[in-house]
Subunit: 365 residues, 2 copies
DNA sequence: TTGAAAGCGGTACCAA
DNA sequence: TTGGTACCGCTTTCAA
């Protein structure tokens, strides 16, 4: 009984406990257990160490190693909203890139007000993350300044700043909105309105710019714009209300993202405005399951998973080979035509499927 | 020039650098900066230390602290699929519970085959996580044995084991399926089929059990069961195909989760089988945006966010007050009636398709 | 109230 | 090839 009491816990295995059991020095054990160093050790010693380590259930303490080396092999990811499938898909991409590279992912939800951003970055940096991925950036973001000042390798994803201070991976927002407008114009629409996303983030700004430019080059007026203050369904609904109040003869709406489009759809349904019969609608993002809504939403596909993966790859590059200049990667987007857009009652232009890039010609889902 | 070379980098602030600047000992600095110890220090010293720390931009090194204390204030969360909104919502709940408690969340995606589970746990444990939340558990899961053997506080969420070896937070799956069947029976359906989830996970098993029990107590036969081998749309579609091949007169399908229901819906649409006109359909989970599909899915609402939050709370409890027995928390579910279920067209007991050879019944369109 | 010192468990460099 | 040792930055006990 007392014997058991004397050894109540086996004590976690460390290099020292293995060294003690084998009568060698712990630095020898360390080398035998390190693939890079193993070759300088007698095979027999390596074998004995390996076996003893196995027997004791030894696992290298990454914390201790991090303290010494100054590298944590930890990446912090900050998203504005974990529950938004767009961001969890990006996260999935990040995870895919990190997997097998022995990096782990610390995830933080900045929350809607984004107010706690600084605290969160602080917590992550305090954990000595080797790098940071921000999916929350505003066009001129103090948080980015903060990270840059800390000299933590930082990559922005999905949303970029106006100036390229930090490496960024984004979608081609400007062109994407251009595709949507070209599509609607080809269907014969001329009185097209835009529900813009928040002006403070790049996606809101660039997609609105894309709307204006595309309208102008199609010879149409780009005045029917209402900007939402957040990417939320409710904001989309109230923007739609404003649009129909100001310009009742609108025949198509290009929304700044899928959520805004969903809100517009709700408003239209409530008001008995048929979609696409009376008003065509397009979204942006092609978020998961958006193909299932009624009517299936015509939208711009953004490669969220790939964006996350690319951002992580870029970050690991910056971590492992520091000192390179910021880099911008703009991923291509495609138009996905579904059922929420159709020709105007007056009919599409006769050449409606000519002269368009092939990615506009996707079959309807 | 040489002067600059001599001080190339300002060097990160540590307790020592602050102590040096102030001419005090670093343990004094440590105490001044620690809210628990501050009271034993002269207010003037506290003030000077605080200011100097601020000036140098000091941030406590959690890694070093962890090494010393053996507590990382890190929680590992393993999910089967980050891109699945059900799990990202659970994650959101976990995050909410951790926020402000100075715990951070290490997220790992186990991937579909779940094969790398052991590796992932290994990596997380190597990082000295204080506890683990598993959303991946099978009914008898070697990974859980592994965690338990490691004596790492572990909480299962969403899916539990058959025996209560680890604390678990789940939804009331059995009762949920009972609600769905009661709803369909009330609408007059009698020939109800079930698309079961994987037998190896508790949700699949319990919901199927719930189906059988509810059918029996409604005086109906519980033989129309096809089990899918994964919770995927494609699996739902092929299960639906089997159902209509074996039992063409089926008037309602209760699916094991929303994704399976979606798959069934796709199959039915493809085959021209009207929903809910010809066949009613129910899902399970009420995942985000599932209310937008056409037809809006009648389903069982599972409080995913709350489950995540409860699991995190339970885990923190176990971490901070160890040694308590495993606990099971079963959260209530509710029926959400939408448009994918409706009363049978021709009354409860009639079978307008009876007597026809099944090969004629298949192409309903 | 403050100082001194011993670690936590690795890593990495120098010596033998 | 192996041993010895000095840290990494913080916590914590013991003295002063």
């Amino acid at each position: 009984m007392t014997l058991m009491d004397e050894k109540p816990r086996p004590k976690a295995a460390t290099l020292q406990t293995i060294a003690d059991a084998l009568g060698v020095h712990r630095s020898t054990v360390a080398r035998a257990l390190n693939a890079e160093e193993r070759h300088r050790i007698t095979p027999d010693v390596v074998k004995r160490v390996t076996e003893e380590a196995e027997r004791q259930g030894y696992r290298r303490d990454i914390i201790a190693a991090s303290l010494r080396t100054g590298k944590s092999r930890l990446v912090g990811v900050i998203v504005p909203d974990l529950a938004n499938p767009v961001f969890s898909t990006i996260l999935d991409g990040v995870s895919a890139a990190l997997t097998g590279r022995s990096y782990s992912m610390l995830v933080a939800d900045a929350g809607v007000p984004l107010g706690k951003q600084a605290e969160i970055v602080d917590a992550l940096v305090g954990r000595r993350v080797d790098g940071l991925i921000l999916a929350t950036a505003m066009r001129n973001d103090p948080t980015v300044s903060f990270c840059l000042g800390l000299k933590v390798p930082t990559v922005l994803v999905n949303r970029a700043e106006d100036t390229l201070r930090a490496s960024s991976v984004v979608a081609d927002d400007h062109r994407g909105m251009g595709l949507a407008i070209a599509h609607l114009a080809e269907l014969g629409h001329r009185r097209i309105a835009h529900i813009g996303g928040p002006e403070a983030v790049s996606t809101g700004c660039l997609r609105r710019q894309g709307f204006q430019d595309a309208m102008v080059s199609a010879g149409l007026g780009a005045t029917r714009i209402v900007s939402a203050d957040s990417y939320a369904r409710s904001a989309g609904a109230s923007a739609a209300r404003q649009i129909f109040a100001c310009w009742p003869d609108t025949t198509a709406i290009a929304a700044g993202n899928d959520l805004l489009a969903l809100g517009a759809l709700e408003y239209m349904r409530e008001r008995g405005i048929g979609c696409p019969g009376e008003v065509s609608l397009t979204g942006f993002n092609d978020m998961p399951f958006i193909d299932l809504v009624d009517p299936a939403l015509t939208t711009i596909r953004v490669p969220q998973h790939e964006m996350g993966k690319a951002a992580a790859d870029m970050l690991l590059g910056a971590i492992e080979g520091p000192g390179r200049p910021p880099e911008l990667q703009r991923l291509p987007v495609t138009l996905v035509v579904r059922s929420s857009s159709c020709a105007t009652a007056s009919g599409p232009r006769e050449d409606r499927r000519e002269g368009l890039p092939s990615d506009l010609l996707l079959p309807r889902a």
